[in-house]
């Protein structure tokens, strides 16, 4: 199936959104709920499954939807179709602070393995599948779980990562140790494995967990500096409602000042 070629522009620095320009007749698929705005002339259509196989049978659609349910995404995707006569724009916003990664699937061989839940939007025709992590150790301790997402096609896809993005290319045999949870996406030619941190002492007191994720080249990998769960953890920890400190707020006699004096800043 021919992919739609889309032009795009990414706005913002830490909380980004991507604006996609659709030529007449072109379409983009977005994760349900991420659309930010769209110009007149763009038709929004919600489809069951991933929208890549409109001609597929009922069972095929059901399977696709089931897979999406497994990867933690909604059953439906939304297709934005330009029915107008000129170029029209539609924007998709990232759901949490971080960066949007544009990936030309044709440049990397047609397949991208990424963290589940990280898909933002893509040119229509890109299929969203799941890739089971079949290495049991990696599934258990690799930080990404057993279910990952596989984007296939030769169009443009946008993936979202938390914090600052590190994009790097590993030469054949070159390997990198990464904190578990920081891997966003990689080419399927990259070996994704785990490695024990080395010492029992580090495993217990080091704060990095028991295992590192190791990525071995060749291929391109995308890393995130701040996985959403880590951010969420910190927010919960410092939320006054959850027993955290309300630094810099409250009255002079309140917990804010005293807590700030005694506890220092985190």
């Amino acid at each position: 199936m021919a992919m739609d070629v889309v032009d795009y522009e990414i706005f913002g620095s830490e909380m980004q959104y991507v604006e996609v320009e659709l030529d007449p007749g072109e379409a983009a698929v977005g994760e349900a709920g991420v659309m930010m705005y769209m110009q007149a002339g763009i038709q929004m259509d919600t489809v069951f499954g991933d929208g890549s196989q409109q001609q597929g049978g009922f069972m095929g659609k059901l399977m696709g939807a089931g897979k999406r349910l497994l990867t933690g995404e909604s059953l439906f995707t939304t297709v934005f179709h330009n029915e107008g006569s000129g170029k029209r724009r539609v924007a998709f916003a990232a759901p949490y602070p971080g960066k949007i990664i544009p990936v030309h699937l044709s440049d990397i061989g047609g397949t991208l393995i990424c963290q589940k839940d990280s898909f933002l939007c893509a040119a229509k025709g890109v299929s969203l599948g799941i890739a089971f992590q079949k290495k049991l150790g990696v599934g258990l301790f690799g930080g990404e779980g057993f279910i990952m997402q596989k984007l296939e096609g030769d169009g443009l896809a946008f993936v979202h990562a938390g914090g600052t993005l590190k994009e790097l290319v590993l030469a054949p045999g070159e390997s990198l140790r990464v904190d578990t949870g920081c891997v966003v996406a990689f080419q399927p030619s990259v070996d994704f494995d785990i490695q024990f941190v080395g010492k029992i002492k580090s495993a217990i007191f080091g704060g990095e967990g028991l295992f590192f994720a190791t990525l071995t080249g060749p291929g391109k990998v995308w890393l995130q500096s701040l996985p959403l769960s880590r951010l969420a953890n910190r927010i919960i920890l410092s939320a006054p409602a959850a027993g955290g400190r309300s630094t810099g707020q409250g009255s002079l006699l309140g917990a804010g000042v005293l807590g700030g004096l005694l506890g220092g800043d985190d």
């Binding site: 440049d107 990397i108 079949k134 290495k135 030469a171 054949p172 045999g173 080419q187 399927p188």
Partner: protein, 370 residues
């Protein structure tokens, strides 16, 4: 090694990574020659062609799903990654023997990974399904479990349960504790229950229904309607024998355990029968239906008791036939709770016909009670 020997015709597609190539790899085509050399060519301008002598082969990439052929030359380290199944097959087929065996072992390690993953999946599925399986096994064996549990309920508990049922019944109908009818019933009953572990207590309920029931722990309640419709003391004895048999075989307890399940079991075993579970159960106990199996057992046991007490079992047979033949629009309650099927009657008839003992007539006159 002669790397310039002719290449085989068969080519396979993959991605080539290495110095001077894009970091994300470039589409390339590979082929083997007879000496175990790999030639990889990258389409484009300029067309790049590389020769690999004695490369290393491993299953690699995500899920070890692709075949990675790596080698080093003057330029640096190169890797040729074959992802597609068809291309991998071609690569294996066209490779010279020495290389082919290495490709085979690489695909072996990939299959090992698959197997382990599947094994893990099955293990997880089993773990998740375990509670369901256990519940299923319990339900399938509920008869046996009920039997097992009933055997372990002490007689004192059963008697207490009987008291509870009696108390509930007293609220619903008028129960006679003494009088000529009660005397007659207990006179017949005591003949049937000699040597029982239960302490039997006999009651007559002042109700026109033709019914009788035995609560756990030896509480037997006969409805006055039954006494009225019984033609002789032997007929009444037949019904009593059947009810006594139910009590002795603990059928109502078993039915209760089965219908109430584990909750009842736990409180019975711990001796806590005061809970609300039983108040409800006790009221329903009088309407409890027994299985066909239980009825047959009760018939046999009742018959045995009649014979042992030297009471004519033809009375039992007569009374059942009387009940069954009465074409009333609504069958008597005794019939609805103790369905007298034709099969059961036939069986009873056969058994009774086979008995040749001398019977001792009961010295009780029912006509005076009516």
């Amino acid at each position: 090694m002669d790397c310039w020997a002719a290449m085989t015709e068969q080519t396979f597609e993959g991605r080539l990574f290495g110095p001077g190539l894009p970091g994300t790899g470039a589409e390339a085509v590979g082929s083997w020659n007879g000496q175990g050399c790999l030639r990889v060519s990258v389409e484009g301008t300029p067309r790049t062609e590389l020769l690999a002598e004695n490369p290393a082969i491993a299953a690699a990439g995500f899920n070890a799903a692709s075949l990675r052929i790596t080698w080093e030359d003057d330029g640096g380290a190169y890797a040729f990654v074959i992802e597609k199944d068809a291309a991998r097959a071609t690569c294996g087929v066209s490779a010279p023997p020495g290389i082919a065996s290495r490709i085979l072992s690489a695909s072996g390690s990939r299959e090992c990974l698959e197997r382990r993953f599947r094994f893990g999946g099955v293990l997880l599925a089993l773990f998740l399904a375990l509670p369901l399986i256990l519940i299923g096994v319990f339900l399938l064996n509920s008869d046996r479990v009920a039997d097992w549990a009933v055997k372990r309920i002490p007689h004192e508990q059963e008697a207490r349960l009987g008291d509870l049922v009696l108390a509930q019944t007293r609220l619903q109908m008028k129960i006679l504790d003494s009088g000529p009818a009660v005397d007659a019933v207990s006179a017949i009953g005591s003949k049937l229950t000699t040597g029982s572990l239960h302490r039997y207590r006999w009651f007559v309920a002042d109700r026109p229904d033709v019914n009788a029931f035995a609560a756990p722990g030896g509480v037997v309640v006969v409805f006055s309607g039954l006494i009225r419709s019984a033609g002789s003391a032997e007929e009444l004895a037949g019904v009593l024998a059947h009810e006594v048999a139910h009590a002795e075989l603990r059928h109502s307890l078993r039915g209760m355990v089965k219908s109430l399940g584990l909750r009842a079991l736990v409180s019975l075993l711990t001796g806590d029968v005061s809970g609300g579970v039983f108040a409800d159960a006790a009221t329903r106990l009088t309407e409890l239906r027994f299985s066909r199996e239980a009825e047959r057992e009760a018939d046999d046991e009742g018959l045995r008791r009649l014979v042992k007490a030297r009471i004519d079992p033809n009375g039992m047979l007569r009374f059942y036939m009387k009940l069954a033949s009465e074409g009333r629009p609504s069958p008597p309650p005794l019939l609805s709770t103790h369905p007298a099927t034709g099969e059961r009657l036939e069986r009873l008839r056969r058994e009774v016909a086979g008995l040749k003992q001398k019977w001792v007539p009961l010295p009780i006159d029912l006509t005076s009670l009516k």
